[in-house]
C-alpha cells in the first residue's frame, strides 16, 4: 500500500483552515469534474480529489491522518500504525458514496473495516431494509455499419464484485446483446436488471451501455447525419450528370445540378442513420481534374482559347 499526500492532492499546506480546504476543493472540483473537464486524466484526478476531501473536510479524520506525521512521501510504502484510530472519538455516520472506489490507503485507514467505518455496514443489514442494486455503466465501441443496420454483438465486461469479506474482486462476464439500428455517438442503451444485485430483496440495478462509434474511413457522422466527400469530374459538375454515391445502405444514383460547384453540399434526405426522423446524407462535392495526358491538355488548351473566363474577376483579387 502506498502513502497518499492528501494535502498535496488538494494543493493546500498542512496548516490550511477548513475554509481553505473547502475553497480548494471547489476550485479543483470545477477543474477536474468528469462531466465538465477537458483534462485528459480528469476522472482519476477527480477521484483522488474526492478521496482527499473526504478525509480533510472531516476534522476527526483529518486529525487522525495528521497524526501519521508530515514525513511521508507520496507513493512511499505504507503500513498503518498498530494503534491506528486509538484515542479518537468517532461519529459513525453513513459512509460517503465513494469509499468503495477509493485507494487501498483510504480503505485501510478510513474504510468500512477501519475504526472510522460504519459498524458492520449498518444501514444495510437492518431487517426489512431493501435497496435497488447499483446501475453499472460500460462503454462499447461499434462500427458505423453496426449503428446503421443494428445487430447482435457479444461483449465482455469486467464487473467488480464485493466478496463476503469486503474485498473487491473483478469478475469477467460475457453478454450477447442486440444493438438497435440508429444508435448515435454517446447514446446509452439500458439493459434492465443487468447491474448489481439488489440488497435485502431489492431489484437489481441496470446496465447502461454507452455507445461509441469508431471513425469510418469514408463516412463522417454528425448526430444522425452522414457526410461523404464525392470526387466529380469537371464535366460532371458542369453538365449536371447522374453519378453513383456511396451511402451506408449501398450506392445510390444522384443527379448533380448543372453547374455544380466544388465545396457545394447536396442532401440525400433520409439516407443517414435510421431514426425518427432519420438522418440525411450530405454529399460534399470535390472537383477533380483528369490525370495529365496529351489529349486532356489539348482539350484544356481549346477551352482556354474558346471559353472567355476569369475565375478571379468577381472575387475581388
Amino acid at each position: 500500500m502506498h502513502y497518499k499526500d492528501y494535502y498535496q492532492v488538494m494543493g493546500v499546506p498542512r496548516t490550511a483552515s477548513q475554509d481553505e480546504i473547502k475553497r480548494a476543493y471547489r476550485k479543483l472540483a470545477r477543474k477536474y469534474h468528469p462531466d465538465v473537464s477537458k483534462e485528459k486524466d480528469a476522472e482519476e484526478r477527480f477521484k483522488e480529489l474526492q478521496e482527499a476531501h473526504e478525509v480533510l473536510k472531516d476534522p476527526e479524520k483529518r486529525a487522525a491522518y495528521d497524526q501519521l506525521g508530515p514525513d511521508w512521501r507520496p507513493g512511499q510504502d505504507f503500513r498503518p500504525p498498530p494503534d491506528w484510530g486509538k484515542g479518537f472519538e468517532f461519529s459513525r455516520g453513513a459512509p460517503g458514496e465513494g469509499p468503495g472506489e477509493f485507494s487501498d490507503f483510504f480503505s485501510e485507514l478510513f474504510g468500512s473495516r477501519s475504526p472510522f467505518g460504519t459498524a458492520h455496514g449498518a444501514g444495510r443489514g437492518h431487517r426489512g431494509y431493501a435497496a435497488a442494486g447499483q446501475d453499472h455503466v460500460a462503454r462499447i465501441e461499434i462500427d458505423l455499419e453496426d449503428a446503421f443496420r443494428g445487430g447482435t454483438r457479444t461483449i465482455e465486461l469486467r464487473t467488480p464484485e464485493l466478496t463476503a469479506d469486503g474485498h473487491v474482486m473483478v469478475k469477467p462476464r460475457t453478454l450477447r446483446i442486440s444493438i438497435p439500428a440508429g444508435v448515435t455517438e454517446g447514446q446509452q442503451i439500458r439493459l434492465a436488471g443487468q447491474g448489481s444485485p439488489g440488497l435485502g430483496g431489492g431489484p437489481p440495478g441496470d446496465l447502461l451501455l454507452e455507445v461509441s462509434i469508431r471513425p469510418h474511413p469514408r463516412f463522417r457522422l454528425e448526430g444522425r447525419d452522414v457526410t461523404v466527400t464525392l470526387p466529380v469530374a469537371p464535366w460532371e459538375a458542369a453538365l449536371g450528370e447522374t453519378v453513383s454515391v456511396p451511402t451506408l445502405g449501398g450506392p445510390v444514383e444522384m443527379k448533380l445540378p448543372a453547374g455544380a460547384r466544388a465545396g457545394q453540399t447536396l442532401r440525400l434526405r433520409g439516407r443517414g442513420l435510421p431514426g425518427q426522423p432519420p438522418g440525411d446524407q450530405l454529399v460534399l462535392l470535390r472537383i477533380v481534374l483528369p490525370p495529365d495526358s496529351p489529349r486532356a491538355r489539348q482539350l484544356f488548351e481549346q477551352m482556354k482559347r474558346e471559353v472567355p473566363f476569369d475565375p478571379r474577376a468577381t472575387s475581388g483579387q
Binding site: V36, G223, G275
Partner: protein, 107 residues
C-alpha cells in the same frame, strides 16, 4: 465457445423513446418530487400537462444523472446545473462541428 440462451434487448436511451414518469423515476432510482424539482428548474421538459401524466425522452436519463453528479460534487443548485448542462451540450455540438470542418479542410 460460449453459447447464449438469449440475446438481451436493450432500450435505446434516445430522444425518440418516451418514458412515463413512473418508469423514469424507477430507472433512475429517484423520488418523484425530485424529478418535479428538476422540471421546475427548467432542467427537464416533460410532455403532458399534469405531473402524473408526464413523460420524458429517454435521452434525459443521462441528463438527470449528470445533474445529480454536478449538484453533489460542485455544490451548485439545480438552476446552476441546468445552465452547465446546456452549455456542455452546446460545447459538444460545436466540437463536433469543428471536428467535421477541420477534416473537410484537410481534404
Amino acid at each position: 465457445m460460449t453459447t447464449f440462451d438469449r440475446i438481451l434487448e436493450g432500450t435505446p436511451l434516445d430522444e425518440a423513446t418516451w418514458i412515463e414518469v413512473s418508469d423514469f423515476c424507477a430507472w433512475l432510482h429517484v423520488e418523484r418530487h425530485w424529478i418535479a424539482s428538476l422540471v421546475e428548474a427548467g432542467l427537464l421538459e416533460p410532455r403532458g400537462a399534469a405531473p402524473d401524466s408526464w413523460s420524458f425522452p429517454a435521452s434525459d436519463i443521462a441528463r438527470v444523472r449528470a445533474a445529480a453528479r454536478l449538484v453533489r460534487d460542485l455544490d451548485v443548485n439545480l438552476a446552476g446545473a441546468a445552465v452547465i448542462l446546456d452549455l456542455l451540450e452546446e460545447r459538444r455540438r460545436l466540437e463536433r462541428r469543428l471536428a467535421l470542418l477541420e477534416r473537410l479542410l484537410e481534404q
